[in-house]
Symmetry: C2
Subunit: 769 residues, 2 copies
């Protein structure tokens, strides 16, 4: 069919103006039709619009082929793999978790840098020369690569001649994550932080002024009272000490210790600390959140607005490539071109699905669509339409007499019954109690086998009742979860029963407990909350990257500053230095008494764990082993991570939850749904939203019933995964969709320097489609 | 003038239908005019609308007079004074800070209860009988009074016969604060908490499920490893202990201690805690904030919507009382009636101010206003119009030749110069350094006198230059602040120099540091932030009351449960029990080692301080001295205060800041401003908003210049304190004004059961006024 389609297109007449945008391209194209290159170009525009890529590639066929290669998922994964390898080098470099010789790490790093260079050269081939040199992220990568090489040279030669050397370029490594083409989300997060900085700065200055004032007051009030701290030192008689102590009080790390000496001396002094906590811990921290949240929202909105504009422009350009003039209706795209385009953009889409999308675009069955309807394509492709194939059970085909016999039907009815779910929820709860009980009792140990058998039986029964391909379809998260957990537990338990290794036993334990999570899925309201959490998951990953970048930089600096200052001794060690973490300065300190010796910067793993601890509670016994000025490192970390990044994280979770609460389906989604319903191809929608928990309660409880209830309906059905978006950008766009001005569409004419006049057309009203 | 006005009104003809609403009232009224009772009734309606009081009082003249008395500010203050006295009894009752004999506290409590009863009887006289018994807050107060009496009887008789007795009714006392008529804000806060509870509950259950699952996993992973905690106990081998430890980890109180034994044993175990902290501390706590914030917003919006409706209805009823038919324009209110009404509602308003408000309402100078314009009155009265009287300096009148001489003019010009402000900012900074230096150096001690003299000189110079009444007008916060601080510091320093008492010296120190705050006022951006904080201050007070109610209840229960378990010994004490806070169970515990003995429930003051510490960081060494189940108390406190109330507090600060960022002046405000400008009575507006910091930077810096720049203008001028609202309700209404449907106005006909048909009229468009 694909071949005949292509013929259709080349045979159709194409008026001269349809060539409009393609003027500057190669000479091999024919005047009367679209060449393969045209479709390639249009497909690239649509795909860029779909995934919000903003790369100004050359429009020559060679450049487009290179560009398609550049965007190929294998190459993207390779680049990320090498970035991870580059970052992971910190594990093997001095101070190392697993020491490798310098030549080995240097070699790996050189390979990584070579890969990045090749990738960059590839990118330079794709986009126009002048654009390449104007883009700061390319400059950034070049600088990082050059500085890394210089640093490697210096470090190598200094080490070879026995001098002290620092691998300072390691701090730059995480910046690669930000500056690769794929790091769009991360760059956006950094941009919104940068934009929020001025506002945060003013609040921060006021906050610091308040801390300084309170410190001055504390100095005057407590300095001369001769109070002593818990470890016998003078209390509050050095101004800088007080400032630091009061700053730490904001992080709540030293509450109530910092207040006790004053409070023990007089109840009235507690008032000082109460006012301080109220103003600085509660009010100022809330104001920080408010400022960060507000700015984050504001700038993100602006960025997403530009994203939507760029998307529409790309679609308009794709339309320009494929348009033909038909009658008096103005430029249109025929169904044949459209089919060809969609097949190029998304080869894995089924014919039926494609026809559904076309019937949404071409509502009046004209066989061609105008600009307005064409522009929707990117959004339509981003919408997750789940194709439900209503197939009979394979056993029904192989052994119809057995599968359709009355005992078999009874089993199926039983499995579908609500009591079956309740019975297994009960089994899970009993299992939870058994897990809690003593493992060494042989009865309990054997019960584990019984539970495993029961879970296996459940999965087999379900597979017997439901069509296996439907049961294991992509969107049945809990079915996959169940099966993977039960089978891994079975394997691990069998291995463990033959050869009891501690690590395997630990895994068995974890799997056993994870199995219990399934009980949450039975309770609608919990499922709704969990679904929301899962939906914001991908964006949490962006924050994960952000945190990794910041942590990595702080870990590298921290390792250079503090490595080896504190040593950790094994439990079996009898070294006398164990009592003070190998540093005499820590003798009798609370740090050593609390056994915090493993909280050190001796390698990258313990650095990361320590930084996480500092994020939770900013305790910094570290300053005892170095100069007091090391506190600057900890305060800086607190400001960057807790005041800025954690607040942005909270802001994002807040916003995402509000979207889940308030935003309804987009117009386009309702169109698609209406169309599915019109064509009588719909299946009962799963309730996925947390928004209205009461509604969720009132809808039917039976998720597995779909294959039964659709028996009388067509063999192929669709449903929309209502609030799921394939991309993070999609979620972001929905977050701000309500506020976006649809008029934007017609502006920003100079987006494409080659073809500035071809972009204007009236504001589309998706409602009318 | 007031008398002649009244005559005017009674002489005017009033058509029969003007009587409309007053049908049910007493017989003494005349048909042709409005009686004093009519005006009283209308004034009560307007005043209720202005302050958002929702009391269904009888409309008989006696009831109205009683109602006016009921709302008198003196009576309201008396009621609050007695509530505070009642709450403060906890200081004197066993366990007491200052012990008083039982008969004395009982007597005071009886007096308080009598006052509350009288107030309630007064309220019962004001409103219809059936309404009184339908109102849950009245029933609540009656029950509290009765239960308190019963408890006092039981306690008294049990004590008299030597039995153990508990004053359980003390827990009920803070509920009085909620249930008095004036506790509207507090009731609203509690209502919005109650409404948010179901949603919070589901997230909380899921959160607890997660904690329980992690605990089970921790039990299996670490229970059999034979690890020991820092104080030598077994690590993670009791399920309930683990649940508690992991719950506390969410509050970050025991981080990283709870993780160290596992982490010391293997790095991989740290992963368990990292995942736990990520899910439960960061994600779940953000979700709590999101749910609380969302619900808070939703229900508050609904409440404010009802408030606005009720306000409009009250204004319509006031209009109904005063309306007259004039020509074919339908019912109107004449200027004379309006004047009389405003004079009754707000006697302290100046004639010029009243005329300004009239000219805003009666835009076309018809001498009468319709319903639409009349309804605005409540909002107009709530708008803070500052009357600036441009009076000459008193010295100019008394000693014109001296004051207008060229040296005197030079002084004035100097004081008004920007450098004068900068010079004193510099002096403040130098002073800050001096404060930080050693007090005992005689140079420093004497410098203090010099600084005091300089500050006094500054105030005197300003008083010489600016008109004193303008300088000390109600809205010049910083002038008042400066003067009060400097004069108190002067007095305290003088007293201190004669008779050095430690307490006075402390006050001197605090005043000296507070003086430095003024430097913030010189920096526009800081002032903008501080003004926003000051603006949300009154509502923070509502949260203060909320916190007091919750703390008081927990303090009362805590005192009964834990009093005397831990004892505090003075620094001089040599009692051997001092080492373990008087409780052998605390021997060698960290609690005693950290000197936390004063963190106890032995009296109401230390209970409150301890509860505040628990709010900041939930450390609960307490469970060592009692049964483990005492932990329930601490977990409950954490859930109520941190998860619910602190989140609502953060939600409020967020919302208030967003309003400051986004909401512009209301339509009515712009009307008023336009009118002021039209009448050429305006003064340059102070920039009070944080919203646009850049704008704030660009406007003129000179606050004190008003009296100079207005010399050529009329003697009486107005400005609008732009974003300041007199009442908390005003701020709340502005917060949701943008979302409020103006159509609401015409609905809810059954608001007034006496007069359901008189309320309909078209939706007013304030823009058109």
């Amino acid at each position: 069919m694909s071949d005949s389609d292509k013929k259709d297109i080349t045979q159709e007449e194409a008026p001269e103006n349809a060539k409009g945008i393609t003027n500057g391209r190669n000479a091999s194209e024919t005047l009367n039709g679209k060449t393969k290159d045209d479709f390639d170009l249009a497909a690239v525009y649509v795909s860029d619009a779909q995934y919000n890529r903003n790369i100004f590639f050359d429009t020559t066929p060679e450049a487009i082929r290179l560009y398609l290669l550049y965007n190929h998922w294998v190459l993207r994964i390779v680049v990320y793999a090498f970035i991870i390898a580059d970052l992971a080098l910190a594990i093997f470099e001095d101070p190392a978790v697993i020491p490798l010789p310098i030549w080995a790490t240097t070699l790996i790093e050189l390979v990584c840098l070579a890969v990045f260079t090749v990738r960059l050269v590839h990118y330079a081939k794709v986009i126009p020369r002048e654009r390449f040199w104007k883009d700061p992220k390319n400059i950034c990568i070049i600088v990082i690569i050059l500085l890394s090489l210089v640093d490697m040279l210096i470090y190598g030669s200094l080490k070879a001649t026995g001098y002290f050397a620092v691998r300072w370029s390691r701090v730059l490594r995480p910046l690669l994550l930000v500056n690769v083409t794929e790091g769009r989300q991360l760059r956006r997060a950094f941009r919104s932080i940068r934009n929020a900085l001025p506002q945060i700065l003013y609040v921060f200055l006021l906050f610091m002024f308040s801390v300084l004032m309170f410190s001055l007051m504390a100095l005057k009030l407590f300095g001369k009272k001769g109070l002593t701290t818990n470890d016998g030192g003078a209390y509050f008689n050095d101004y800088l000490e007080i400032v630091f102590d009061l700053y730490v009080l904001v992080t709540t790390a030293n509450s109530p210790d910092v207040m006790m000496p004053a409070y023990n001396s007089s109840v009235f002094f507690a008032v000082f600390f109460i006012i301080y906590i109220l103003i600085n811990t509660y009010i100022f921290m809330s104001v920080f959140l408010a400022v960060v949240y507000n700015n984050y929202k504001k700038y993100l909105k602006e960025e997403v607005r530009q994203l939507v504009r760029a998307k529409r422009h790309k679609m308009v350009r794709a339309f320009g490539v494929l348009q033909e003039r038909k009658g008096e209706e103005g430029p249109v795209v025929t169904q044949a071109s459209w089919n060809q385009l969609v097949r190029l953009v998304q080869p894995d889409i089924s014919n039926a699905h494609r026809e559904l999308l076309w019937s949404v675009s071409d509502d009046s069955n004209k066989g061609c669509i105008g600009k307005v309807a064409f522009v929707q394509l990117a959004d339509l492709l981003n919408m997750q339409v789940i194709v439900v194939k209503s197939r009979p059970h394979p056993l029904q085909m192989w052994l119809p007499s057995l599968y359709l016999s009355s005992p078999s039907r009874l089993i199926c009815r039983m499995v579908r019954h609500r009591l079956f779910v309740y019975a297994f929820d009960l089994i899970i709860l009993v299992n939870a109690v058994f897990i809690g009980l003593d493992e060494e009792n042989p009865l309990i140990a054997n019960a584990e086998w019984a539970f495993l058998a029961l879970y296996l039986l459940e999965i087999l029964l379900k597979l017997y009742t439901f069509e296996p391909r439907a049961f294991f379809s992509k969107h049945e998260f809990w079915n996959w979860f169940d099966t993977v957990i039960v089978i891994s537990a079975l394997i691990a338990t069998i291995i463990n029963s033959y050869n009891s290794v501690r690590q395997i036993l630990d895994i068995v334990f974890i799997l056993r407990v994870l199995r219990l999570i399934r009980v949450v899925d039975s309770i609608k309201r919990f499922r709704a909350i969990i679904n929301t959490l899962i939906k914001i998951g991908p964006t949490i990953l962006t924050f994960g990257q952000l945190i990794v970048v910041v942590y990595y930089i702080f870990a590298m600096i921290g390792m250079e500053l503090f490595k080896g200052k504190i040593r950790f001794f094994d439990a079996e060690s009898t070294d006398p230095e164990k009592a003070f973490c190998g540093n005499p300065l820590l003798k009798n300190s609370l740090f050593a008494k609390h056994n915090y010796c493993k909280n050190n910067f001796n390698n990258v793993v313990s650095s990361f764990i320590l930084l996480l601890e500092l994020t939770v509670v900013n305790q910094c016994g570290f300053t005892a082993v170095t100069h007091v000025s090391a506190r600057i490192f900890f305060v800086l970390f607190h400001i960057v991570v807790v005041i800025i990044i954690i607040n942005i994280f909270i802001a994002f979770v807040l916003e995402a939850f509000f979207v889940e609460y308030t935003v309804d389906k987009s117009n386009l989604q309702s169109c698609l749904e209406k169309k599915i319903e019109e064509l009588e191809l719909g299946v009962k929608q799963y309730v996925l939203d947390i928004g209205n928990l009461v509604d969720a309660m009132e809808t039917d409880d039976n998720d597995m019933g779909t294959s039964e209830s659709t028996k009388a309906k067509p063999a192929l059905m669709f449903k929309i995964a209502s609030k799921r978006y394939k991309t993070v950008d999609g979620l972001l766009q929905r977050m701000f969709e309500a506020d976006l001005d649809p008029e934007d569409f017609a502006e920003d004419e100079d987006f494409d320097p080659n073809n500035p006049s071809n972009v204007t057309f009236p504001n589309p009203n998706f409602d009318s489609v």
